[in-house]
Symmetry: C2
Subunit: 298 residues, 2 copies
DNA sequence: CGGGTTCGATACCGCGTCGTCATCAGCGTG
DNA sequence: CACGCTGATGACGACGCGGTATCGAACCCG
């Protein structure tokens, strides 16, 4: 049962006239007659009663008309549906992000994407770098928002945001009285650091900064993530270096201060498989760039 | 969107392997690759991710797979449905019949048709000859069970049953005491006759019989149909000639007797448009013949 | 009742598309 | 590094579709 024949049949069934149907289909009448005859012999059923000058549908023909219309309409809808997915206006996109991206630009990017592509279902999940890397390689997620970035042959990485580090201190700390704090002056404080694995870790990053400033923190405490670090700071365990955007989340007992000294900052990046060609991904990257450009202008 | 391509796509999507899909479709691999590529360019959407040795469906491809399966299955079901209608195993058939066919063979024919073609919806309606003729010509019904038959250039008629006439008498009639009644002996009785139009009417038929027997009934009463005639007989208005099958419906106050004399009987016929080619009609005619043959044997 | 008109069917032809075989190109693997 | 596997590409023959011309039947109308 060829689709063309179904379309032809619907035209004939609706016009009840081969000539008019043919001109509606923009073909000549003879091929139309033949296609209908062919359809009938394929099905082994008469569809059209030609016994009179005014042709008429048989019972089988009436039923086929209904069914054919339904099928053709479904195919048409499917065509449009598929096209929208192919253009990235529909479908779904799976994004993972590190916890420290929750504040700052990511929410803006998400919001912008949502309003530009409201029919795309965004699946968001928080993961640390290691989980992200595994998931994006396994194609469980499409985009990983990582800090600073995921390095792998299979992956591509694009910078999203470069931000400075700032000091997080207990709000009862005497250090707050100074206007500016030189990092090296804090060598005696307890530093809250982060997991050492996988290398190179953010812990290494912080320690390198201290080394650049000529000291190694004497006293160190480990926290799983920035939130935990901030908690430790709030109860007076020590001080921490965190990305500036983390300070956007106000926390009782914690104060933030810029510091003087080596500040390579920390980067947030968008990571995805090189071979991932889905349009949603490119749309997301484009939106992210737009948001960043706009934010930088302000 | 060609149907063949949809079938091909489903095969590839299910096998996730062009070679296997091609052999499943019993074609070579190159045309399959080309057809899929063609489908993709028709839709303007990538359906298959060929970036790895193990191919994979894109989001658009996954959705298309679902939709295509659905459409193909619908078409398959439609194919079978249409075929069944074309063979007369499904669909509907509209039959009209004269009231006097309610007893006798028609119920048996209907029953036999119902059991042979249980999925055919039978629309039954009682009509007199004039209504039947109009309805069958207007294609409002497919078969008219008429007495004796409908005559028209557009129609064809097949005998269903030839049955003798019998006398209907009041059960208090003194005529009952004789074994056999000669029709001419009843010339003084009141005869219940039937509408005179349209010509030739059943009234004419009865009067012809009387003429053959050499008399014209002196006293005549008109009844719309056999049931009314029997009612009139039951209340002692007169006597009536009715088809033998009508006597199957026992009626208090009425007795039936065979009579001696001219008895051309009366025919029941199946009537339908010459140009009506629907299989249900032929099936019905065949069943009717079978039932009649069987009944005659008994 | 016969000629003209209308409408679907048939005959034949040219072209596009499909399927085949042969071959290429990329990637993974021993 | 060579080989094998897999999908893409090229060239070619065959079939099917649509086009024009024409037929045949039914209907209309004077």
């Amino acid at each position: 049962m060829d689709l063309r024949r179904l379309v032809y049949f619907v035209a004939v069934a609706e016009e009840l006239h081969f000539g008019r149907a043919a001109s509606r289909l923009a073909i000549a009448q003879p091929p139309l007659s033949r296609q209908i005859a062919q359809l009938e012999s394929d099905l082994g059923v008469m569809l059209i009663d030609r016994s009179r000058s005014q042709i008429r549908l048989t019972q089988a023909g009436s039923v086929l008309l209904e069914r054919a219309r339904d099928v053709l309409e479904r195919l048409d809808r499917t065509h449009r549906e598929i096209k929208r997915i192919g253009e990235g206006f529909s479908g779904h996109l799976r994004v993972a992000f590190v916890g420290s991206a929750t504040y700052g630009v990511l929410p803006n990017v998400i919001k912008a994407f949502r309003s530009a592509y409201p029919d795309v279902e965004l699946a968001l999940s928080a993961m640390n770098n290691a989980e992200q890397k595994r998931a994006v390689i396994q194609r469980e997620i499409d985009i990983a928002v990582a800090r600073p970035s995921l390095e792998d042959e299979e992956l591509k990485s694009e910078p999203l945001l470069q931000e400075p580090l700032i000091l997080a201190l207990s709000d009862t700390s005497p250090l707050l009285e100074r206007q500016v704090t030189r990092l090296a002056a804090l060598k005696a404080e307890t530093f809250v650091l982060y997991p050492r694995k996988p290398r190179p870790s953010f812990a290494d990053h912080i320690l390198n900064i201290c080394l650049e400033e000529g000291f190694i923190p004497k006293s160190q405490v480990l926290a799983q993530d920035y939130q935990t670090a901030i908690s430790l700071v709030s109860v007076g365990v020590g001080i921490a270096l965190v990305p500036k955007s983390v300070s956007q989340a106000e926390r009782p007992g914690v104060a933030y201060r810029a510091y003087e000294g080596h500040n390579p900052g920390t980067a947030l990046s968008l990571n995805y498989r090189r071979d991932n060609r889905m349009p949603h991904l490119f749309n997301f990257l484009k939106i992210a760039q737009d948001v960043m450009r706009r934010q930088r202008k302000q």
